[in-house]
Amino acid sequence: MDEILDGLSEVTCDVLVIGGGTAGPMAALRAKKKNPKATVILLEKANVKRSGAISMGMDGLNNAVIPGYATPEQYTKEITIANDGIVDQKPVLKYAQNCYSIIEELDSYGIRFLKNENGDFDVKKVHHIGTYVLPMPNGDTVKKALYRQLRRARLLISNRFMATRLLTGADGRVAGVIAVNTRTAEFLLIRAKSVILCMGAAGRLGLPTSGYMFGTYENAANSGDGYAMAYHAGAKLANLECFQINPLIKDYNGPACAYVAGPFGAYTANNQGSRFIECDYWSGQMMLEFFNELQSGKGPVFLKLNHLHSDTVSEIETILHTVERPTRGLFHEGRGTNYREKMVEMHISEIGFCSGHSASGVYVDDLARTTVPGLYAAGDMASVPHNYMLGAFTNGAVAGEDAAEYAANVDFAEYDVADLARERDRVLAPTRRDDGIPPNQIEYKTRRLVNDYLQPPKVTRKYELAQQRFAEVREDMETRMVVRNAHELMRSLEAASILDCADMAAFSSLFRTESRWGLYHLRTDYPEKDNENWFCHTLLSKKDGKMAAEKKPIDPYVVPISEDEKDLYDKQRVRASA
């Protein structure tokens, strides 16, 4: 295995879904359901059985809008406020209206959701305003349940193929994708009438403080390839300066899971064991308070459970040590941390891109359409904010249906064969050298520079230095990177995506000359929020081969936000009581 072989096969399909994690399988299922005659291919870099963020399942839905607990309008309002107003509400409202039917569908797959003694869903309050968190008692089975459905629908699955570039026609429509087998380096050209990108977050952008390159919060296979591919295909990307930064268990870099433990009475505390934030729901404003506390004399920050009854702690342990990130128990054991006795040390993560806690990502409308005709995006890489797992499923479904309909009404776009030849040369260049720099050093250096220069607080001069350093690394990557086998070739392609994302992070951050979203876009030389000039989206795209940015007005709200509500998320710090 891993020997580099020469090969190129070509296949065609109606709908191509790239990324078989969470949004992808649902998109493929829905496309097939919408048009049973359509050929649907699901392409995955890893193996659909265990790929993506939900590889080992999930402990609950973060953002479920359940009748009786919340209305779609309330939810839309909360997400708008959590995002400092920079939200197109239509896709958020649509998600909120659709997500309950997706819960019912998941339920029919055998995935269970917590119910109370009356048989109603037992939703927990974690957000600042409303109640949206729904635990999943058999959350470890999500991937298996999805895979059963994929088999039943007889979808075509191509595992271990990494998509590298999209092809577009002269008319600008999407024409297909180029992919490389991660174990043989053979090429696969898939021509498709519509393509749905479901390639997850950009999780390998910053370097974890542990120094371990794969010790990331996100599934480390999510190296930002989707963002890079969308960019090179000419799609627009929204609000990338609104970084993802998470409050995590220090070194382990997994979620401390205040969402799970919170409803049982656990909370985020400082070194005195005191609460300092009102609400543990992840937002930029909350992260800023977290950051301030870390830097202060009351730091570091901890997850506190040692005041809870031992039985309650056992219940929490059963959840946290079996699903999502199940090695967590082992990690605590190694450090001698028993939740009953010690608080769990937390830290803030390195930066990444993810729409989980922001409105960043490949720009999409309420039908999951990007700005490239025939190209869709869903899940963590699409710009619909605060999607999480249920959003990935719900918008994956929306994308699948519309992409199937689109494909039924168009012919294949003609791609330029020169584009294919150019991409093969780009991909294979590191295999043609026998001396140079291995991809792990290119990647390490890029990510170390991301930490040094891009991690907020953002300073203009540091960002400009970062751009210079990135250009030097790019030069090395393009002229000297060397690989010895197909596995390293995959890593070299990932290194290129990571560098593209780093450049996009720097460029979009410099464009927005204000501070917004708490820590996510805290610019020390523009410390104030500037609604007059910056109450808008920023869109980044490739114009004449270069990065360009523009402003886009926010679509008029469909759910109005009153003056006294719009700053609610700014009030995160616990007030000193009299």
Binding site: A46, R50, A221, D251, Y252, G436
Partner: protein
């Protein structure tokens, strides 16, 4: 610049007595999201070839004989 081989301690351990790779099993290799497990040419058993692990556990959870043990990578232990 010349290249140097370097060595590193990896987090995933396979118990060769339990692994039945020679009977055609390669479940752990199939499911790993980072694609870092391989069959060792000498022993015919599964092993961790690349130190690029997300300590996520599918390899351990899906192995039919319980041969795989995932540890926390040394750098973040």
């Amino acid at each position: 610049m010349p290249l140097a081989p370097s060595f590193t301690s990896v987090p995933v351990v396979v118990d060769n007595d339990k692994c039945i790779a020679e009977k055609g099993c390669h479940v752990c290799i199939d499911v790993c999201p980072l694609d870092v497990l391989r069959i060792n040419d000498q022993t015919g058993k599964a092993f961790m070839e690349y130190d690029e692990c997300w300590y996520c556990m599918p390899c351990e959870a899906d192995c039919p004989t319980g041969a795989v043990k995932v540890n926390i990578p040394y750098l973040l232990k």
